[in-house]
Subunit: 384 residues, 2 copies
């Protein structure tokens, strides 16, 4: 029986925030010390102003912590990380920021636009990216790190993409799902970012998580969890309809941890708009239908899929789905991937499962399967 | 063969804007005259700042106008309206504002929050509602008018709902899909609106159309048409999760002209959140699952459905779908309802089609089928 090669298209990494200090350019260390001092307060204020209460149930969080607290050190410790992922049967990973709440990059760099000074967020992103490059240099055959790329200053963004490429962050880049006060992604100002990513083979990502603020009003947690995925889909159709995929046919675009069931219906409706008589102007600069751009250059990092989603796999595209365990987040499948994977993929023919749980990610991110093979032989599941 | 009773759950009405003048309270007539003088300029500026170009293709618009230009007078002329709807086989209607671009209510009252003074928009809404009450008083058995209800001033909103009820606007009320700078619909400030609507049996509606501005950037028309429906879904889950349907079990909520295919997947995910261990706090004030509130008190005004949607009718709920022709809008099925209805509903058993094209709307809005029967006998289709 050939073992399954599991590559998690969605993991998270980061040291406890204060330990990013040495990775910051020296001139930002003083504001960073102030930021770290205020971090608890910032977190409390943000929570109060947005969800109003903790996202996850107390009991659920405690049970997770009881089981996993001493194991989340894999968020930053490379050896521990390998052990934890191997324990889950996983041999490769695409790494996003925010290892845990306590491990966010400096200055909230992940993308909450408007929360702090753009220069500070850029400095924070650079510090995180440097740290991530070190993490990935350990076991580079397993790790495709994704560089945080703030979009306030386009020239700086381009430099950071080049830096990331040169420093082994082959996962690509993470752009903010929400652009805040900046122009939306259909603005030509972002052209140098798309061009650089296409030229360097750096995949562009959005990752679920961003949302507007909910003012802590009743029901905010549920409202957030209901609509949060949608906010990270938007850059896809802003880019597509403004011709980004037309102009950059080699650009790869991946939508991670924001479910996959929205794909078939969204593409259906976009194709209807494209084909119909009402909006003929839509077609004028686009040689392909939306579903054809999708087929050519887009994927979903579908993370912890449910049976409801895997049942839609043929509509979404078996070659388009990249499963992820969301390690070390508590909403993911780690440390119970085998069991949860069985619930989602059980009964599906192996030749359909293999691409979704690893082979697609290997192709998109350039993992060398030959180098992973010995690890697969050791830890990959024989059966799903 | 029993003829089909067609009730359009989505039509539009309005006089050319300047003719709303006599319906305005006298103190608003001077600002109204200024508004009318600037209306062309306001429209041009809004278009430039949002979509950047016309929504509909020129050729398509011209063909529609060539065919229908002299017939859109039914937007305000009650006799003409009856003839046009009868020509489409339709015997009843739920009426929303914005008959055509040129027939918007005074001061942009339909709901583009922040575009003008809230007092002016309230005055505009009242003028429209008075005018609409007159339209509905002609053929009241056919017409369920929906009152525009601005939400800036809650006391004024409640008065307007009471006025609408007393003046025969049995369609219910239209709330803005987007709340702009006001608190979102999970804020307790809206409680008097929900309570009044429940008490008076006034159905609450959102209607597709609102969106953020797109700055006239490339692809804006396509981006708008891709995501416009979503913006009008949001009030549904803001209301549901904050307990509006729990506290007001008799309240009816209808989501009109914003497609119907989103319903099954959205309810599935909301039920998963409700049932799961991660967000236990979600359940604390809600005795029912989201899909159960939906089943009890929500519907879709599904407008011009496609075969793609009617194929999902069992998942959406045959008792939840209310077809509409969107008269007199050019994106609707009028004046070719028979043909377009066949494309969407052809081949579906008659006992499934009847509720979706009329009987559900009759129940939700209290049409007296006995009074419509003679018109059905004359104009209702024998076959779909």
């Amino acid at each position: 029986m050939r073992r399954y090669m599991l590559i998690s298209a969605d993991t998270h990494a980061g040291v406890p925030t204060e330990r990013f200090r040495p990775y910051l350019d020296p001139e930002y260390r003083e504001p960073f010390d102030e930021y770290v001092d205020q971090l608890d307060e910032i977190r409390k204020r943000t929570l109060k102003e947005s969800l109003g209460e903790q996202l996850f149930d107390d009991k659920f969080s405690h049970e997770f912590r009881d089981e996993a607290a001493d194991r989340v050190a894999g968020a930053w410790d490379p050896e521990r990380r390998n052990r934890e992922l191997e324990g889950d049967g996983v041999v490769g990973e695409i790494i996003f920021p925010d290892g845990q709440n306590e491990n966010g990059p400096p200055f909230g760099a992940t993308g909450r636009l408007g929360d702090s000074d753009p220069r500070l967020r850029l400095a924070g992103a650079r510090a995180y990216n440097r740290w991530l490059a070190e993490l990935c240099a350990h076991s580079p055959e397993r790790r495709a790190g994704v560089a945080i790329t703030p979009i306030d200053d386009i020239e700086a963004a381009v430099s950071e993409i080049q830096w990331a490429k040169s420093n082994g962050l082959r996962g690509g880049i993470l752009i903010p799902s929400m652009w805040g006060d900046l122009p939306a992604y259909n603005d030509p100002r972002y052209e140098p970012i798309w061009a650089t990513c296409e030229e360097l083979g750096m995949t562009v990502h959005t990752h679920g998580g961003a949302s507007p603020s909910y003012g802590g009003l009743p029901g905010s947690v549920a409202i957030y969890t209901t609509e949060v995925t949608w906010w990270s889909h938007r850059p896809f159709w802003f880019a597509l309809w403004s011709g980004v995929f037309e102009r950059h046919p080699e650009l790869k675009f991946v939508l991670t941890e924001q479910s996959a069931c929205w794909v078939p219906d969204t593409l259906y409706h976009m194709d209807v708009l494209y084909d119909g008589p009402m909006f003929a102007q839509i077609r004028k600069d686009l040689s392909l239908k939306p579903s054809e751009y999708w087929a050519r250059q887009c994927w979903v990092g579908a993370s912890f899929m449910r049976a409801h989603e895997t049942a839609m796999r043929h509509q979404i595209g078996i070659d388009k789905i990249m499963w992820g365990n969301d390690y070390p987040h508590m909403e993911g499948t780690w440390p119970h991937t085998a069991e949860k994977m069985r619930a989602a993929f059980g009964g599906i023919p192996a030749d359909e499962v293999r691409p979704m749980v690893g082979e697609n990610a290997a192709r998109v991110y350039g993992f060398e399967e030959a180098r992973l093979a010995p690890i697969v032989e050791r830890v990959g599941p024989e059966k799903i």
